[in-house]
Symmetry: C2
Subunit: 411 residues, 2 copies
C-alpha cells in the first residue's frame, strides 16, 4: 500500500512498546514463530490507509503539515489482529443448547437431538438478507472491540443455494474475507452426503466461486468423509478457490493427508491429531489453524500446538466464532488460552493470529505487521507490557483500534 | 436497607428479563443452587441506595414524583456480582513469569526459582500506601466494568506488620471486604513457618482484627501445614475473625477436615479434593469456593464442582484475581468456565457468584439478590437472554452497572 499526496495523516506517538512480527514471505515456522521485533518508546505514522513509518521516538524528527495525533503513553501497539476462522454469518443463538450441555449433554448428543448445526441452519434460512448483514455487522463490531481488524467468515448455515450466496454477500458487504463452507453438514432434504454434494457442486459452486476466496469442508463422522471431501475440494480448486478443511476435531479421518495431497491452504481444529499427523503437517506447506476457544467451549482436549510448533509446522490461531461450539470472538482470549493451554509463548501467539493468519487469508502483503507499506491497522493496548495480551485473561486491555489509518469507534 | 423520603430514585424499565436468586437465609445447596426467579418484561425501582420494588411492567403503575429512568429494552438485569475471593491488593505484575510458564515452567518451579508469591511481596512492600490504594482502586474499576459490585480482597503480599495493615486499609478505603491472609507464605527473614506465625500472631493479629472481617491461610507444601493452619486460625477466631482457608489446591493436606473442625466460613480452591473431601464438605456448613480461572491459568485440573453440588455442598464461585495464578477479574468469564469446565448450569453459576458469595462475605442480607430491601446493585446485560452471562465467552455483555442506586461510570 502506498500513500498519496493530500491523504489524512495519523501519528501514534510515545508508545511504551511497538511489537510486530518480522517480515516473512511465508507463514512463520518453528523457532521463527516466536520472532517479533519490539521497539520501546515508539511511534507509528500513517498516511491515508497505509503505515508510512514506524520507529523509536528519537528518530521521529519534525512532522510537517497537518497530522492528527494519538497519545500512546502507557500503551503498547500490536498489529490489528487477524481472525482467519469464524462462522460469523448466522441468525439466532444456541444459548438453550449451551445450558443443556452445561448440564451434561455432549455435542454429538445435542446434534443427534436436532440441536447443533441444523438448528442454526433453520434460523439462518429464515432470516432476510438484511437481517443476515446486520448480524455479521454486529459480530464484526464485537470483533473490532476485541482488536480484530481483518476477519474471515464462512457460509455453511444456509446449505441451500440462496442462503449460501446471501451469506457470502453479507460477509463481503461487512468487509470480511468470505469462505464458502458448502460442505458443513448434510441438510435433511437430501438423502445422503453424496446427493447433497451433487447439488452443491452443480447449483451453488459456480456462483459461490465468484464471491468467495476459499472453500471449506467439515470432515467428520456425521458430516463428510475423506472421499466426499476430496470430491468437493477438487471441484472447488478447479473453480479457482483456495482450499481449507475442518479436520480431526473429534476423530482422525484422513483429513491431514487429504489437505496435503490437495495443496490446501489450511487444516483447522486438529484436537484429535496424533503424532503421525503432526509429523506430516510439519513436512507440508499446509498451515495448522488452532481453535482453543472451541476446545474450551466444548470441554474437549486441546490441539497438540506445542508438538506442531516444535516439529516445524506453520501454526495460526483463530476464534472459530460461532453460536454452537465457540461463542467467542475475542482473539486476546484465544492468546490467553494459547499461553495457558497450548503452551505457546505470547510472541508465538501474536504471530499466529497476525502474520500467519494473514497468510492463511492470502493477505499477508498488506496486513499482519506494523511496518511501512502495510495497511494502518493497529491495536493500542492499555497495558504496560504488550504480553498482557495473553496475560490479562478476559481483561479490558483494548484501548483503541486504528483501522485503515483511522481511530475506530468501538461499540 | 430502607429508603428515606427525599432520596433520589432510579427506575430501570422494560427489561427483557430480570433474574435473581430466590431468598435464602443460608447458602443455596444441591438442587436449590440452580433456583432463580425470572421475571419477563420487568422493572426495578430504586430509592436512595436500596431497591424498593421489582416486578413485571404491567404491575408498575404510575410512579409519582421525580425519577431517573434507565431503558432496559433488549437488556437483562442480574444482581451485581459478588467476588468473594481476590488478592487485589498488590504492586507490580508477573507477566514475565507468565511468559516463562507458557514456555513450560511449572508454578512450583517458578516459586522455587524466586518467582511466585515472594516476587509480588517484594514489589508490594516497596509500594507506598497511596500507590497500593491506587492499585486496589484500579483493579476495583476493572471488576466493576465486569459487573462486580461487591468484592473481597486479601492482604498477604506484605507479610510484615506495616504492609499487611496498609493492605487491609487500602482494601477498605476502596470499598472492599478485607481478609487478613496473614499466613500466605513464609517470608525469607524468618527461619521457618512457626517462627513467622509467632511474629504474625503476636505483632500483626491484634491490629489486623480491627480492620479485617476474616482471616485466611494457605495450606500447602511450601506454605503452611495443617497444624500450623490450626494454630493460626484458632488465634484469629478468638480475635473475632471469620475463618477461611486456601485448601487442596495442589495436594490434599487435611484442609477440608480442619475447615470443618474449626467451623470455617469457607474453604477455597479444592482442585485436588477427592471423594472423601466432597462427602465431608457436603455434610458440613463450610462453603466450597471454586476458582476455575485459577485452574485454567495454571493449566491445573478443575475442582470437582459437579460432585460437590450433587452431594449437597454449598458452592460459591470467585475469580481468585491475583498477579501470579489468576490475572482475571471477570466473573462473567468465571461463569463461562463454570458452565464449560465445571458443568454447572448458568443458573447454578449465577447463584454461586451472587447469593452464595454474599453468604461467604457475611453480607447476604443486603447484596446478592434483586429484591426489595437489598442494596440497589445490578448489572444490565446487553443480551437477549440472561444466560449469555455464561454463553458469550469473553464477550462485551455488560452494558451498565447500577451501584447503590446510581448508574456507575465504567472505565
Amino acid at each position: 500500500m502506498s500513500a498519496r499526496p493530500g491523504d489524512r495523516r495519523l501519528l501514534v506517538r510515545d508508545l511504551a512498546q511497538l511489537v510486530t512480527p518480522a517480515a516473512a514471505s511465508a507463514p512463520a515456522r518453528g523457532a521463527d514463530l516466536g520472532h517479533v521485533d519490539i521497539i520501546e518508546d515508539a511511534f507509528v505514522l500513517c498516511e491515508g490507509e497505509a503505515i508510512v513509518r514506524v520507529g523509536p521516538m528519537h528518530e521521529l524528527g519534525t512532522v510537517d503539515g497537518e497530522v492528527e495525533e494519538l497519545d500512546g503513553r502507557g500503551r503498547c501497539a500490536i498489529p490489528g489482529l487477524v481472525d482467519c476462522h469464524t462462522h460469523a454469518c448466522f441468525a439466532g443463538d444456541r444459548v438453550s443448547e449451551f445450558a443443556l450441555r452445561a448440564a451434561g449433554a455432549t455435542y454429538e448428543e445435542l446434534h443427534a437431538r436436532g440441536g447443533g448445526i441444523m438448528a442454526t441452519v433453520t434460523a439462518t434460512r429464515a432470516a432476510t438478507e438484511d437481517e443476515l448483514l446486520q448480524a455479521v455487522e454486529r459480530h464484526r463490531g464485537w470483533m473490532l472491540r476485541a482488536g480484530t481488524t481483518t476477519f474471515e467468515a464462512k457460509s455453511g448455515y444456509g446449505l441451500d443455494r440462496e442462503t449460501e450466496l446471501t451469506s457470502l454477500r453479507a460477509v463481503k458487504a461487512a468487509g470480511g474475507v468470505a469462505t464458502w463452507l458448502g460442505a458443513h453438514a448434510v441438510p435433511p432434504e437430501f438423502p445422503d452426503a453424496d446427493a447433497y454434494l451433487d447439488f452443491a457442486l452443480r447449483e451453488v459452486l459456480p456462483a459461490a466461486a465468484e464471491l468467495a476466496d476459499a472453500a471449506d469442508v467439515f470432515v467428520e463422522r456425521g458430516a463428510f468423509d475423506s472421499d466426499q471431501a476430496r470430491r468437493f475440494l477438487t471441484a472447488c480448486g478447479a473453480a479457482g478457490l483456495a482450499l481449507r478443511l475442518h479436520g480431526d476435531q473429534f476423530t482422525e479421518l484422513g483429513a491431514v493427508g487429504l489437505a496435503i495431497e490437495l495443496g490446501a491452504t489450511s487444516i483447522d481444529h486438529l484436537e484429535a491429531t496424533g503424532d503421525d499427523g503432526v509429523r506430516a503437517l510439519a513436512e507440508s506447506r499446509v498451515t495448522a489453524v488452532l481453535l482453543p476457544a472451541s476446545a474450551l467451549f466444548l470441554s474437549r482436549p486441546m490441539p497438540p500446538a506445542r508438538k506442531l510448533v516444535d516439529a516445524g509446522a506453520a501454526v495460526a490461531l483463530a476464534t472459530d466464532f460461532n453460536p454452537g461450539s465457540a461463542f467467542c470472538e475475542s482473539l486476546p482470549l484465544v492468546c490467553s488460552l494459547a499461553a495457558t493451554q497450548l503452551k505457546l509463548s505470547p510472541a508465538e501467539a501474536l504471530v499466529a493470529c497476525t502474520l500467519n493468519a494473514a497468510h492463511v487469508l492470502g493477505c499477508a502483503d498488506t496486513v499482519g505487521r506494523l511496518a511501512p507499506g502495510y495497511r494502518a491497522d493497529a491495536v493500542l493496548l492499555d497495558v504496560p507490557d504488550w504480553r498482557y495480551l495473553a496475560y490479562h485473561l478476559g481483561g479490558p486491555i483494548v484501548g483503541d483500534v486504528v483501522l485503515a489509518g483511522e481511530r475506530a469507534e468501538l461499540r
